[in-house]
């Protein structure tokens, strides 16, 4: 048993539109789409052509750099269109459901030996659910990890409550843990939010870690940094609990059932709730909005992807967030006292007066992009034992030695979501870190 972890530095951003606790089960849309861009660093090699008939679980494409890793269709139907971009890069694979729900029978796990389990995961399209540190990319199936970390809660603003969505999935989660924990000689950790109801208390075979404190207490980097900080050469695999449930289900039923219970959150929804949906499913019909000028995000407001009104549920998302767009001017917005917007300073911004107020934030940048000027604020919301501004600057001037020395192996872009949110200079921290990680992966490997 591990000691509880208390995260002190961080920030809880409370927004209007937390999902109401009810699960709806609307009819799934016929339109599905898979975006290779969700899988960072993957170079897709297509296996299917337009108008091919696929079953749920049939391979759509694989990664050219790691051919074992397959990506499967979440639905049975017809490949309607393959949208390509510049230099014929695959942007989107559109599939129209036949509504028959036929599943390909996956090969079963042959034995409990690691390579058999890995073969099953890779060939069944489950490997993409497992990410690795360093670099925060899909795990390399050829190198087994030192440890495996599973995130049991999401501390991001308006995030789906895993305990609520997964209360019926305990068996699947247990199955997945039983198999995955065989893949490492080290430990398998599960982070849980301290003080939550004990839905996951009976899960066995993992070291449970109770984490308390503000966001990013749910981010695995925060916990890894405290328990087994990543050194050069270490490999850590990370997973989210909802993805684990899909893996577990695939192991026990031999079907790739990519169903998720997702949260519809954000102030633009007339009614927030949880709905049963599926990876890649069109979300158009779920959007009952009170404001047409809204930003639709697959994921949360800090790390999610903008998908638009005709968007689809992205591969890793557990919520759809809708917030008002902020494409309007604000008279003297830089000088006047601010009551309705969030701030970590007190420079005529008054959110410090109302710690429990819920904010209805829009997507306005509240200012223009500038060079880094203010110092000392990022450290307040960044719990890792790393200098955030210095590592960002090292990424900007591409000094590989410095990036490595400052701890680049330990971070993922998500860890810089909060510093990006509070950045007065409106710098794109997450993409700076992502580009830094890409560079390191390319140069150091």
């Amino acid at each position: 048993m591990f000691a509880d972890i208390v995260v002190k530095k961080g920030l809880n951003l409370s927004l209007v539109g937390q999902s109401a606790r009810k699960i709806l089960n609307p009819k799934l849309s016929k339109n599905f789409s898979i975006y290779p861009a969700d899988f960072h660093g993957v170079f897709p090699k297509l296996v299917v052509k337009e108008n091919d008939i696929v079953k749920a679980g049939d391979v759509l494409f694989y990664d050219k750099n790691s051919e074992k890793v397959k990506f499967c269709s979440p639905v049975s139907g017809r490949v309607e269109e393959i949208v390509r971009g510049d230099r014929r890069v695959v942007l989107e694979i559109k599939i129209v459901s036949d509504e028959k729900e036929t599943y390909k029978k996956l090969s079963s796990v042959k034995s409990k030996k690691p390579h058999d389990i890995i073969d099953f995961l890779a060939s069944s399209g489950l490997m993409p659910f497992i990410k690795q540190r360093p670099y925060d990319v899909i795990a390399n199936p050829d190198i087994l990890p030192n440890h495996i970390y599973i995130s049991g809660f999401d501390s991001s603003p308006l995030a789906a409550d895993f305990e609520y969505c997964l209360k019926d999935q305990l068996e699947n989660i247990q199955t997945a843990i039983d198999h995955l924990s065989l893949l490492t000689n080290g430990k398998t950790f599960l982070t849980l939010k301290k003080g939550n109801s004990n839905v996951f208390k009976d899960i066995e075979g993992v070291s449970k870690i109770n984490v308390s404190g503000p966001h990013p207490s749910g981010n695995l980097s925060t916990v890894i940094n405290k328990i087994t900080p990543i050194n050069k050469g270490d490999i850590i695999w990370t997973l989210n609990l909802p993805d684990l449930a899909i893996i577990g289900n695939a192991i026990s039923t031999n079907k790739f059932v990519a169903d998720r219970i997702i949260a519809l959150t954000g102030s633009s929804f007339n009614e927030t709730c949880y709905v049963k949906s599926r990876i890649g499913c069109s979300i158009e019909k779920l959007l009952d909005l009170n404001e047409t000028n809204s930003r639709i995000i697959s994921g949360n407001v800090l790390t999610g992807t903008q998908v638009g009104m005709k968007g689809y549920l992205r591969f890793y998302s557990n919520e759809i967030t809708a917030i008002p767009e902020g494409n309007d001017y604000d008279l003297f917005g830089w000088a006047k006292p601010m009551f309705n917007k969030f701030s970590v300073s007190r420079a005529l911004t008054f959110s410090w007066l109302f710690p429990s107020k819920k904010y209805d934030l829009n997507t306005n940048t509240n200012g223009e992009h500038r060079a880094f000027v203010v110092t000392g604020s990022f450290e307040e919301v960044f719990p890792l034992d790393i200098f955030p501004m210095q590592i960002l600057k090292a990424c900007m001037y591409k000094d590989l030695d410095e990036m490595e020395a400052l701890g680049m192996y330990e971070v993922s872009p998500d860890d810089f979501a909060l510093t990006e949110f509070i950045c007065v200079s409106k710098q794109p921290h997450q993409s700076i870190i992502r580009q830094g990680l890409d560079l390191m992966k390319k140069e150091i490997g």
Binding site: V344, A347, G367, E420
Partner: protein, 403 residues
């Protein structure tokens, strides 16, 4: 058609053109732009750099207003003194008077206007040439400059040094956020070294004292530091020093208002309390050391250092511009140390060196700006060592693991 949509249309016509940054600078001054987040986080905090800079300016406004009145007050006081009339300072009696305001405004407002117009013109030119937005850094610099110069400074000197300071102090390094030296202090240093006869001596601190020097109407313009450096009797009471009814640079005499400014900056989380505290701490420690030296009897009152060395250590904070420097200059985040530990070291050394220069350089007893400029240069080195400890921790971890 509203102003908002009209400006929006003009902005669209400027898009991609050379003059766009110049127009946008005015436009974004009126309206925060309609820009929305495109990648990364979909929401952002309310603060931008304009708000940050504006907060600093607000904390400086009381000092400026006081400086305006004080310019007139010191002028009248010196004239009275020359005529043999001595009066006590009283806030509503002879300080906040219309006459003081008029004299002060005539002298100080031109300094402010020249500082802003010249400095911002340089910024605009660079923004248009380099095709980036006009950055807000100069808003604070432009306010600081008039506050740290003598009231009688000729405007052309100010203009020349502002051009020098902004170009050499900032733009050659890449603009706001990239500079190594504090631009306001670069301007001050340029003034000091380019026009030493003007900037030092005992006349420049009171309006009209220079003009009248050598005439029968001559008035005194000496600062407290100057008097100390010459081992003269100090004629000002402690309360005068604290409230600021003393001659000195325009905005840095009133310690009370500087303390208010400091509290506002610390409260709003814009100024670094670490730097402010450690700077004052450093100054006090150095003052204590000098007091100790005096007590040992090594330095007697025949020494030229005796005057300033024997100042009680805490009184150093009340005279000269150490307080102003600690609150508004040392805290400039771009040129200060950027790590929290580094800030403590950086501030402490500023305070320490300031008082050292003050005591050992009686020709020009104000060492704060030199100390800050010096530490600006060393700030990256301080940060480097702070960061190295983190790097070493990581390397050690790896060694233990592989061992």
């Amino acid at each position: 058609m509203s102003i908002k949509s009209k400006l929006h249309e003009i902005k669209e016509t400027f898009k991609g053109k050379k003059m766009a940054p110049a127009f946008n600078a005015f436009h974004t001054f009126l309206y925060t732009p309609n820009e929305v987040t495109s990648s990364g986080t979909h929401v952002k905090v309310a603060d931008d750099l304009k708000r940050t800079m504006n907060t600093v300016i607000m904390s400086l406004v009381p000092c400026l207003i006081f400086g305006i009145f004080n310019a007139g007050y010191q002028h009248n006081l010196a004239i009275d003194a020359a005529n043999g009339i001595y009066t006590q300072a009283s806030l509503f009696g002879n300080f906040l008077t219309f006459e003081n305001l008029m004299i002060g405004s005539m002298k100080v407002l031109p300094l402010v206007i020249v500082s802003y117009v010249v400095g911002l013109t340089v910024e605009f030119i660079f923004a248009v040439i380099k095709g980036h937005e006009v950055e807000e850094g100069y808003l604070v610099t432009g306010m600081l400059v008039p506050l740290i110069v003598p009231v009688d400074l000729p405007l052309w000197m100010l203009a020349v040094s502002v051009v020098f300071g902004v170009i050499i102090g900032k733009e050659v390094f890449g603009g706001t956020g990239m500079n190594i030296l504090n631009p306001a202090l670069t301007i001050r240093a340029f003034l000091f070294f380019a026009y030493p006869t003007w900037m030092s001596g005992d006349k420049v601190w009171v309006h009209d004292a220079v003009n009248r020097a050598g005439t029968p109407d001559a008035i005194s313009g000496e600062t407290i530091l100057g008097s100390y450096a010459q081992n003269q009797e100090i004629i000002y009471s402690l309360s005068d020093m604290f409230y600021g009814f003393i001659p000195g640079s325009v905005g840095e005499t009133s310690k009370l208002l500087i303390v208010f400014g400091a509290l506002f900056l610390i409260f709003s989380k814009i100024g670094s309390w670490r730097i402010i505290t450690s700077t004052l701490l450093g100054a006090l420690v150095m003052g204590l050391i000098f007091n100790g030296v005096i007590e040992t009897g090594l330095v007697t009152n025949s020494s030229k250092f005796y005057g300033l060395m024997s100042v009680p250590f805490w009184e150093h904070l009340l005279i000269g511009s150490i307080l102003f420097g600690a609150v508004f200059m040392a805290t400039d985040p771009v040129t200060a140390a950027q790590t929290n530990k580094g800030k403590w070291i950086y501030g402490f050394l500023i305070g320490f060196i300031s008082i050292m220069i003050r005591v050992f350089n009686p020709a020009y007893p104000e060492g704060v700006f030199l100390a800050i400029l010096l530490m600006n240069v060393f700030a990256p080195t301080i940060d480097h060592f702070v960061i190295q400890s983190n790097v070493k921790m990581r390397l050690n971890r790896l060694k233990i693991k592989t061992a």
